[in-house]
């Protein structure tokens, strides 16, 4: 299912359909996350992928139009890059511990500490929350900063610039009139 969606995305040239399919891809992967026991991740992926990203994509499309022109460029080089990268990755999995095996080293070093100690060290049942907000709380602070950075970036790029009729691109540089508070 995921593969079909992804391949359809490659071929489609109507960008509205692309946005919708991207949302569907997210929802499908959210379902997969549930199957893989990652309920928090599934929740977030659904909210972000099917929610925010789709709204942003549709918002962008309403501003820039929705038809993709047929590309004339050759696709041999990208295909080659992808094939090489993919084969290297597959080669890399050869020594990987098998899927789902409880004996994998990843499950025996740090993870047991979270599962066994968090009950009395933190005292809340959702271990993902404990790790997210306390054991690795600093990462989450970084994550909050990343979101804030995105806001600063979007405000800088989109804030308050008004296009004046006809003058926008004549001198080859973006119009810088207007003020960022206006929005």
């Amino acid at each position: 299912m995921l593969a079909v969606t992804a391949l359809a995305l490659l071929k489609l040239r109507n960008l509205f359909a692309v946005a919708m399919l991207a949302g569907i891809y997210s929802l499908l992967s959210a379902g997969l996350f549930v199957a893989l026991d990652a309920v928090d991740v599934a929740f977030t992926e659904a909210a972000v992928g099917a929610g925010i990203s789709t709204i942003l994509l549709l918002g962008t499309l309403s501003l820039v139009g929705h038809d993709q022109k047929k590309s004339t460029r050759s696709s041999v080089v990208p295909l080659l890059v992808v094939l090489v990268t993919g084969s290297i990755l597959v080669y890399g999995t050869l020594d990987m511990p098998p899927y789902g095996d409880p004996g994998n080293p990843a499950h025996h070093h740090v993870a047991p500490h979270y599962l066994e100690e968090s009950e009395h060290e933190i005292g809340i049942p959702n271990v993902v929350t404990s790790v997210l907000a306390s054991y690795r709380g600093y990462d989450t602070m970084g994550e909050t900063t990343v979101i804030f950075t995105a806001m600063v970036g979007v405000l800088l790029l989109m804030g308050g610039v008004r296009r004046r009729e006809g003058s926008a691109t004549l001198d080859g540089k973006p119009d810088r009139e207007g003020d960022a508070h206006g929005g």
């Binding site: 929740f43 925010i52 979007v154």
Partner: protein
Amino acid sequence: MEDNVILRIGAKILIPFILMFALYVQFHGDYGPGGGFQAGVIFAAAFILYALIYGVDTAKRVLPLRFAWFCGALGVWIYAGVGVVTLFMGAEFLNYNVLRHDPEHGQELGILLVELGVLTTVFGVMVAIFYMFAARRQVR
């Protein structure tokens, strides 16, 4: 969409439920899936729904861009502020153990506060970005 009565009434009924769900997600994060980020997204979604139905201008009167902007910055301050407080209480940055008399309650309080910080930033940022894209559209 601004004239559609059914949508308006539907939204009026729906939005409080969405907000309650967001609060549930925020405070239930300790027990089930969810937390500050997801709650922030849902809060923002409720507000964006409101803006879509009642118009962005009405929405801006309720919640000005500058306020969303401020929320985005405030959340980072709340999160890092918890860390600074623990510094001044003589522990490492973000070591919640010292926030209360015993570590377990300290951790609980710390996690609650930082999740609140995440919620504030996510909500503010999402609404600010939505305003930005919406404002572009009005110009055209």
